[in-house]
Symmetry: C2
Subunit: 339 residues, 2 copies
């Protein structure tokens, strides 16, 4: 039973990935400093899987703590690194927080993995590295563009750091570029729980649905898209989590063709903001008040994935529809609000 | 008398800049962890200027040490940040060392400066950010190119981090992109003192001149240049140091047109490897044995500066010739080897 470290394992994507790992028999060690999550998530995970999760609250920005962790856990087969700050707007206001959190932790972990004869590493990257791609859908060969925010820059730099390390060490790595993860585990034991006002569309919608938010702002309806609102590729978080387990097994079983591989993870289908609203209204049976406001700086018009590489090489594809993903998010929101 | 912090102040460019700062009446606090320098340099500086230098040996990669330093020295008017690892080849072999040293220290220092109502910062960047530019000479508007090494990448990323911080804080910053610094102080009290085999041409030549190195390797004589060897813009380190003092005064006197300014620092004149060898032979009166070997990966054909911006806006230009710079390096080498 391989021991896998999941950093940021109590966060949104991290917690769902821990569940899928435990379902597949992996022993999981979660590192999470609770800066954007809650220790309660650990219990949610255990209620779903019935498995025990080893938990460490160390701060990955502290090199000595990272060193001590890997000394204590010297039998780790792989690391899935989710821990990072992820709000684009916050990164513009506080860039140093992002460079410190997202690069410092990465460097310290890689320094420990580099010492090993065999090390496997999965990195949370993002479709943000493509910026506004000229051609849709976005393949892994689509050119990277200059980052639109410090957040986006840390993802690009993170990819570069890993590539540099792979060239001179025994590290095997897979970079996973996520499109827009939404939804929650079907049990509604874990889900997305943003602190403060949600920066993403779906949690804002579900919070508005339970009355926590007054009105949804739709940032621009004058984009060159069929209904004028931005188009994204919304992927169910459980589908996304399963891709991590498949990628990890690929590394552990040495099926990777190259010590550094990159996969886009999305559904391959773009949905507009208004389509997401309609899906929510249909599923919940309630109207969602919204207003059209000015475009938001840094938003691209459209982004959705070419999933060919993940489909053929990982043998993975999404199974949940947009309606199902939004319904799961809504179920979770109602449950945690006691509705 | 303004108090200026010079990180890496016992290094090659740092130590010459400390001298020029003290000559201009600044009170200097040097931070240097001696990872690539010697505490003896402090005495060399004092012998030249007759001034006392405050010295701190803290490790800038330790956030708490940086915080404590700025708490103790709460009257700092500006920071000139030289401290960094700088060997291209080493950065390829050990990329994490470079990402940690060159980005960690920068982030922690900027976090302290960001807290201040007024903060001035000068960053050591490099012409390496231009890669092989299509047009010579290289102006500040010449496009940045993807980094050829982790070292070069840390300089590009450093520039990006500073630009992001300037946008949202009161920080004033000047990025100085150096071409190829050589030479030593005319007193020969301080100079370039690489640890191990020199990675740069001039210190290798002078070490060969005193018999420390057997034979110089010239990496390729089939480049599309007049004599087939690579062309660089060699700038006397004292000229370079003086540019830092001018840039600092520009910030302190609020003469900067923009909170972020960039200047290329070079002579404007390109010299080939064979021309450097000839200059040394002429100045020293001795033949230098060398052999032509294969090209070195990552070397560009030619790079020399367009100095218009620094000339007109900083009112600065180099005064030393290549022969003078090489003669000063030779004088220093002979002195430290007891010849």
């Amino acid at each position: 039973m391989s021991k896998i470290v999941v950093t940021g394992g109590l966060g949104f994507i991290g917690s769902h990935t821990v569940v899928e790992l435990q379902n597949q028999g992996f022993e999981v060690v979660v590192i999470d400093n609770l800066s954007n999550s809650s220790i309660d998530v650990l219990e949610g995970i255990e209620r779903i899987t019935g498995k025990k999760t080893i938990y460490s609250g160390i701060d990955l920005r502290e090199k000595k703590a990272v060193q001590a962790f890997f000394k204590e856990h010297n039998d780790i087969a792989g690391v899935i690194h989710f821990a990072a700050s992820k709000a684009v707007g916050e990164s513009v206001k506080n860039p140093l927080l992002y460079y410190e959190n997202n690069l410092g932790a990465l460097v310290y972990i890689l320094q420990e993995l580099e010492k090993k004869k065999e090390a496997h590493f999965i990195f949370s990257s993002s479709c943000t590295v493509y910026g506004q791609a000229e051609v849709m859908p976005i393949a892994e060969t689509t050119p990277i563009q200059p980052a639109l925010s410090p957040y986006g820059n840390t993802k690009q730099i993170g990819e570069e750091i890993i590539a540099d390390v792979v060239k001179v060490s025994d590290l095997n790595a897979i970079l996973l570029r996520y499109f827009n993860p939404i939804g929650s585990h079907p049990s509604a034991e874990i889900g997305e729980l943003p602190i403060g006002v949600p920066q993403n569309l779906v949690p804002f919608i579900t919070q508005a649905g339970v009355g926590l938010r007054a009105e949804l702002s739709v940032y621009g309806n004058d984009y060159p898209t069929p209904d004028g609102t931005c188009i994204r590729d919304y992927i169910h978080v459980v589908d996304l989590a399963k891709a991590h387990v498949i990628a990890l097994k690929r590394l552990l079983n040495r099926e990777n063709a190259d010590p550094l591989e990159i996969f886009n993870l999305g559904t391959g289908k773009g949905s507009s903001v208004l389509e997401v609203i309609t899906s929510f209204e249909k599923g919940s049976g309630q109207k969602l008040p919204y207003k059209i406001v000015a475009r938001r700086e840094g938003d691209v018009t459209e982004a959705y994935a070419n999933t060919d590489k993940a489909n053929t090489i990982l043998g993975w594809k999404t199974v949940s529809t947009l309606d199902e993903a939004i319904a799961s998010a809504w179920k979770w929101e109602q449950k945690i609000r006691g509705n």
